[in-house]
Amino acid sequence: MSDDTVRLLTPEGVRVEHPEYALDATPEELRSLYRDMALARRFDAEGVTLQRQGELGLWPSLLGQEAAQVGSVRALRDDDHAFPSYREHAVAMGRGLDPLALMRLFRGVDNGDWDPEEHHFHLYTLVIGSQTLHATGYAMGLAKKGAESAVVGYFGDGATAQGDVSEAFNFAAVYGAPVVFFCQNNQWAISESNERQSRVPLYRRAQGFGFPGVRVDGNDVLATLAVTRRALERARQGEGPTLIEAFTYRMGAHTTSDDPTRYRDTAEVESWRAKDPLLRLERLLRAEGSADDAFFAETEAAGEVLATRVRTAVRALSVPGTDHLFDHVYAESHALVDEERAAFDVYQASFVQEV
């Protein structure tokens, strides 16, 4: 990790000073950040398990990226908005979305149909990078309305190679949109490493578009929170976009369909395991006497409660009725959809047996 990476908490759990960024956090806030990361990790593990049991079609694990997500989402105010990619489970939880909604998508009972305006958490986006333009357009809209709120657009290192992300950077820059581009550089775009995505460190991309870019230790929840908070303040004050590159690591597979042992070695994974985001905060909490065994046991128990709840709920999810095929294709009536629905109803009715 290069010297210009913002870090406030070392892997050993020691607080360090940074000339530009500082974070005052009470013991209660630190415990709360730990708790959010721990719950997200437990929920995520349940996603992997449920997929292995055949209950989910796919699960993209966030393991290793808890600090990047929890730290950044904690910086948002209620009136701010988050536009996720498809791995932002901890961001969803941080916004107050019931994470069961995420599992509905990966179980295949819907395509992720939560109300984006309820928690200001927008829909998961599986086409890489598309949502960065939506985040930018939304931010442009907030500015037009004179709102004093901002938007965070989440994406990964692989997405930075997409044209849409460059276009989003440029639109945000020329319109001065109140948007923060939050790139979780987890080092791997499925099997392709950073070297195949970019010839320059990702945070430096921003300079070419005319706005600041900053690299933060993405496994340091305190630094991530401080850096995102500052970027959001800039956005709210009309100073335009910021690119944050959260330097982190995807400890698991890209998704449950992936086998990372084919493209990366154990030593690399182990070197990142030593930088675990939860472990370093646990070390700090224990060293400062801010949390004891009872707190960690209690947090673990809360994780089990969450896991049990979603496991039970996922298994109980019913298959949607075939009306879902036709119900919302259009907001207003469309003759073809009406015709196909009617024909399908007749077809289905033809199977009804007389008793």
Partner: protein
């Protein structure tokens, strides 16, 4: 082919009708935004947005960076935040960088959110050939949009429809691909901009009644088909011309009623015949009118070839003679 002249009607070009319609939309709803390349001070390369930035300001009539995907992607974000963007794509052949955002995002978000998200975005595209333009400036991509569930696709053929269909498009809560027949921009007609409702309701419209054969078209080919019908009448053939106006959905009921009367159907469009709108129309009309048809349904359109250099476009485009050739074949059957 204009509406009956009434007290409020004015004679104007199709291009002016679009301009007035956009002006009405901006004036009536503060959520309406115009976005596109060169649409501000220049008024668009065709001048469809002429004067609108001057009167409504650059926050509502926005010159954008030269990036079609960026334009549509940010329009989606603006729509999510409560605005109603009307996007201009400068030419038909330049829409493809935005095709991903249109197909994967714009078209699907209402369905995938189970109706929670509405994206009232209009994408205006000057389309079609016959203006002697260079490569990528004469294409007819309507089928590529009509094939995508979640999009509405429409194309006016005359100034009155241009005004009213654009009103319909900006008021729709669905995304609309609005295809403007650029070679008809300077056609004139009566437009009653003070009417409270469009003179001809939605759906296909019989623009010329006839008994021997139905000619179906939309956008730039409607005028060609009316010319063909006039020429055929000199040879004693009485053709009916149906202006479909909308390509998704298609008003098959009006078309089926017409074919029920005439027993013959020829469909004309500039887009390639192969997998074109005519293929879908032929299949469905055959299904519904099988016993009324006196002849196979025929199609006239572009070839399975890239749009040619402009000196060859007269051969590529279905002009009066090729339409009449198909008419003759259908009548001979």
């Amino acid at each position: 082919m204009t509406t009956a002249t009434t007290a409020g009607a004015e004679r104007m070009t199709l291009l002016s009708a679009l301009n007035v319609s956009l002006r009405t939309a901006l004036a009536e709803d503060p959520r309406t935004l115009l976005m596109g390349e060169d649409i501000g001070r220049l008024g668009g390369v065709f001048r469809v947005t002429d004067g609108l930035q001057k009167d409504f300001g650059d926050e509502r009539v926005m010159d954008t960076p030269l990036a079609e995907s960026g334009i549509v992607g940010t329009a989606i974000g603006l729509a999510l935040s409560g605005f109603r963007p009307v996007v201009e794509i400068q030419f038909d052949g330049f829409v493809f960088p935005a095709y991903d955002q249109i197909v994967t995002q714009l078209a699907k978000m209402h369905a995938r959110s189970r109706g929670r998200v509405r994206l009232p975005v209009v994408i205006r595209i000057p389309y079609g050939g016959a203006i002697g333009a260079v490569e990528h400036h004469s294409e007819s991509p309507e089928t590529l949009f009509a094939h995508v569930a979640g999009l509405r696709v429409m194309s006016p053929s005359n100034p009155s429809d241009a005004y009213w269909m654009l009103q319909e498009a900006v008021r729709s809560d669905d995304p609309v691909i609005f295809l403007e027949p650029k070679r008809r921009y300077y056609d004139t007609g009566e437009v009653d901009v003070r009417a409270t409702a469009r003179p001809h309701p939605q759906g296909a419209r019989v623009v010329r009644a006839g008994s021997d054969l139905t000619l179906a078209a939309y956008g730039p080919m409607v005028a060609t088909c009316l010319d063909a019908a006039a020429a055929a009448s000199e040879e004693g053939h009485d053709l009916e011309v149906v202006d479909l106006r909308s390509i998704s959905p298609i008003d098959f009921d009006t078309l089926v009623r017409s074919v029920g009367r005439t027993g013959r159907l020829v469909i004309a469009h500039e887009a390639p015949v192969f997998f074109g709108a005519g293929a879908e129309i032929a299949a469905r009309v055959t299904e519904r009118c099988f016993y009324q048809l006196e002849a196979p349904v025929l199609r006239v359109g572009g070839f399975h070839s890239p749009y040619p250099p402009s000196r060859l476009e007269d051969a590529y485009l279905p002009g009066l003679d090729r339409v009449l050739d198909a008419v003759d074949r259908a009548l001979a059957a």
